[in-house]
Symmetry: C2
Subunit: 485 residues, 2 copies
């Protein structure tokens, strides 16, 4: 092993030693993102942003395919607007960044930088909506938002982050509820299909509800340290904001009514979810469907005069794969050893490494290496593209399978609080128990164990009913608990 | 004409009566954008945002095809960073919005919301770049920026706007200059190909230079009222920011050097450019390549029981066109008359209207109406898709041709200041004269005529040299002057 290689691998903290440091190492050393001199704000570097684009685009397609359109609303929320919905302002005012000055002039009214856009969008919808014919309004925006967080962690909790926020208005409560559930399912399916993240869809408790919502639903994923990550939320806002912002319409029966609203969003924290679901001690393992590069080609090089045929072949291979829609990069650096390159691209999570050298050219083959199991496939050149595509699908499916297996072995049904606490320590993960919904008990659990109620899953087990595992009161359903990011 | 129709058409101000009001009417009544309660900030509505997406995506492709990657840098610029480059802070400080408070806590250092990102990106690049092997850095970001403008106009000048900003670092001055010119040409070609806007590429005078740049280049388009619009800029930043932010690298010769930088951007004001280049008194005329809908299908409807076969046919046609990659919308509203629909979609600038009714179905035809000349094409169904595609190309080419003709008849070479002033009044447009570059003369022209020096075009006429039209001094080249947005 060259000196370079050893140093390189040494740079990653072991996941088992310090999960949190392992995560930060991965984010920074793979070039996904980094801290900046602006407190709590990250820079998403090109490799991380390409990953975000590959997450964003297939979700954007789903949002459009379900009848929504994108728009762009102002970054600023005047203080008076934010104050209109009481719960909302309580929830968000402590986290708001305020613009108080422009040029050299003090503003008459401070402007919050949107922590979320219900207030500004609500005030605008009030102008747009007059008749039942104006409904439904089905709009999404991709935007940056700012929440002044005390403790930040790259991608998972940053002062500024990127997200999409859907904001819809409907004629009836039923339509709003149907929309809420539709988008929850869009998120669940999207996470599973594109990110290979199996998520539990469910409804939140009152304590974990979005500030101002009537009901909050979420997709909850399980990270590889046994902690949960709220990966997306879908809120039925009822008429809370409609009443606060006076969003009314004249219905067909000629009476004036308030609209029924929903909002829903996912953010750049999904990148954190991808990392913490799939990666190992050698680095990232990116799902092929979203990986910036699906294949890295590493030509075996010997020195300038001998490499011309190899580089020519490399070029040809890259072109062929690109033409087939495969995202490819080529590493022709001559100042690092092959082993260094292998480690680096492994750390960066590229699903397939393709090696090609003079001996392979002689044999008319390429070598494909699977990032998950390091299996080598000596593949005849004629079969290369088909084999690459098959391997990419295999890797995508393999990641989902691993994540599902992990979740299954880390989801435990408990019947008592003692069992709950034991399980939380080992094996950790989702701890599932019949729960009466008692707010005091929920608080006690959080205070004593740091586990929170992640959701009441939509899909309840047959034996969900029974005595609540902590209060002993009758409970009609189970709840998922976990420590969470 | 139904009552509705008259009211509808009446709503648009005539371009000849009041260009400015005509423009605002168009933006608002076609659903592109609107004002909000946040001073100077607009909401880009779904129709406008779809147009922006169609502008953004082909430009993003070009930016990537020329070797750049996207990233995302912080929204905030700490005051101390902004102060580091003297010209830069002078140019932008008066327009900055300042965050001074977060939650209930006063910040130790105010944070500007980025008016442009040279300062924050420069400070980050200083951390990233160490060796000549780290160069070039070729990064772009799509972002929102904020400039506190006194007078705003939808899309053309708003407090918050969307843009892309490229920021690159190079090893040599020559490379930076080559990059500056490459991106200028990318913009020029993009404007011409995608937006059907013929733009003049040239270099700015010192007075019009970007604050902190060594040289600013721009693409200047001519709007249909004879005013110019700066459609995009490409700056050679030299080493100004590198020195201010200490962006150094160790070169191959083992000496430490400052990098050479460029930055370049276009913004949502391009939407304004599209509107003011192509539209007429009936409304928008959108270039097919960027139009949110390229075809609107209006079925001829008679009443619920009779319309089933027509709607079925409409469906089939829409599917066929969509499958061929045509962006289609269908207007099946039953509460407005066909004439109203025709006017509305004409106003919204959809390139082709497709009418189909029972008589057309009988004849196996559809009727295609060209937005530019209102020509009707009775087209056999079997030829529909091919004809639609051909018409879209014809319309795209037609818009560019009109715009070019307008520019040619509104570009006038002058030899004296009197001639200059006369020409500026009529026909207006670009007034071109040999110019010595005298700053005082440039100032005088601006003060006396409100025309500004748009650029010294890259492509100079053969007889460019001669006495300066205003000072009489020897001049080596011509400059384009115009009143401008």
């Amino acid at each position: 092993m060259a000196k370079n290689e050893k140093q390189f691998v040494k740079e990653l903290t072991d996941r088992e030693d310090d999960f949190s440091q392992w995560y930060i190492d991965l984010v920074r050393k793979t070039g996904l993102a980094d801290y900046t001199m602006v407190k709590g704000c990250m820079v998403i570097k090109p490799y991380g942003y390409a990953l975000w684009e590959n997450v964003r685009d297939p979700l954007d397609r789903r949002i459009k395919d379900t009848g929504h359109q994108n728009a762009c609303f102002p970054l600023f929320v005047p203080q008076s607007l934010l104050l209109k919905e009481a719960e909302h302002v309580q929830g968000f005012a402590p986290e708001c960044a305020w613009v108080t000055r422009a040029g050299s002039e003090e503003l008459e009214e401070p402007l919050a930088i949107r922590p979320t856009s219900e207030a500004i969008i609500g005030s605008i919808y009030a102008d747009w909506i007059h008749s039942y014919r104006d409904l439904p309004v089905l709009i999404n925006q991709w935007a940056n938002v700012v929440r002044w967080e005390k403790r930040t962690r790259l991608f998972l909790r940053t002062t500024e982050f990127l997200w999409q926020e859907g904001h819809t208005c409907h004629r009836t409560a039923e339509e709003a509820q149907a929309e809420t559930m539709k988008m929850l399912e869009v998120y669940r399916e999207f996470l599973e299909t594109e990110l290979a993240i199996p998520a539990v869809a469910g409804v939140k408790s009152a304590a974990e509800r979005f500030a101002g919502a009537q009901e909050t639903y979420a997709v909850e994923a399980l990270m590889s340290n046994g902690w949960a990550l709220q990966a997306g939320t879908s809120h039925n806002l009822g008429q809370h904001f409609a009443k606060a912002f006076d969003i009314k319409f004249l219905d067909e029966d000629n009476t004036e009514k308030f609209v029924w609203q929903t909002s829903w969003g996912v953010s750049t924290r999904l990148i954190g979810g991808i990392i913490m679901t799939h990666s190992d001690n050698s680095g990232l393992r990116l799902p092929p469907r979203v990986a910036p590069y699906q294949v890295v080609i590493v030509p075996v090089m010997f020195g300038k005069d001998k490499d011309a045929p190899t580089l020519e072949k490399t070029d040809k291979i890259a072109k062929e794969l690109k033409a087939a829609g495969v995202r490819v990069t080529v590493d022709t650096r001559d100042n690092v050893k092959p082993g260094f390159k292998y480690n680096e691209w492994e750390m960066k999570g590229v699903p397939i490494r393709l090696e090609v050298g003079p001996r392979d050219i002689e044999k008319g083959q390429v070598v494909l290496v699977n990032r998950l199991n390091r299996e080598k496939h000596f593949t005849p050149e004629a079969e290369m593209t088909a084999k690459v595509k098959a391997l990419l699908e295999e890797i995508q499916a393999g990641l989902l399978k691993h994540a599902l297996e992990y979740r299954e072995t880390h989801t435990t049904r408990v019947r008592s609080y003692d069992e709950f606490k034991e399980t939380l320590e080992s094996p950790g993960g989702f701890v599932v128990g019949a729960f009466s919904g008692d707010a005091e008990a929920e608080n006690r659990i959080k205070a004593e164990t740091k586990a929170t109620l992640r959701c009441y899953p939509l899909s309840q087990p047959e034996d969900a009913a029974g005595p609540c595992f902590i209060t002993g009161k009758p409970a009609g359903k189970v709840a998922y608990f976990a420590r969470a990011f």
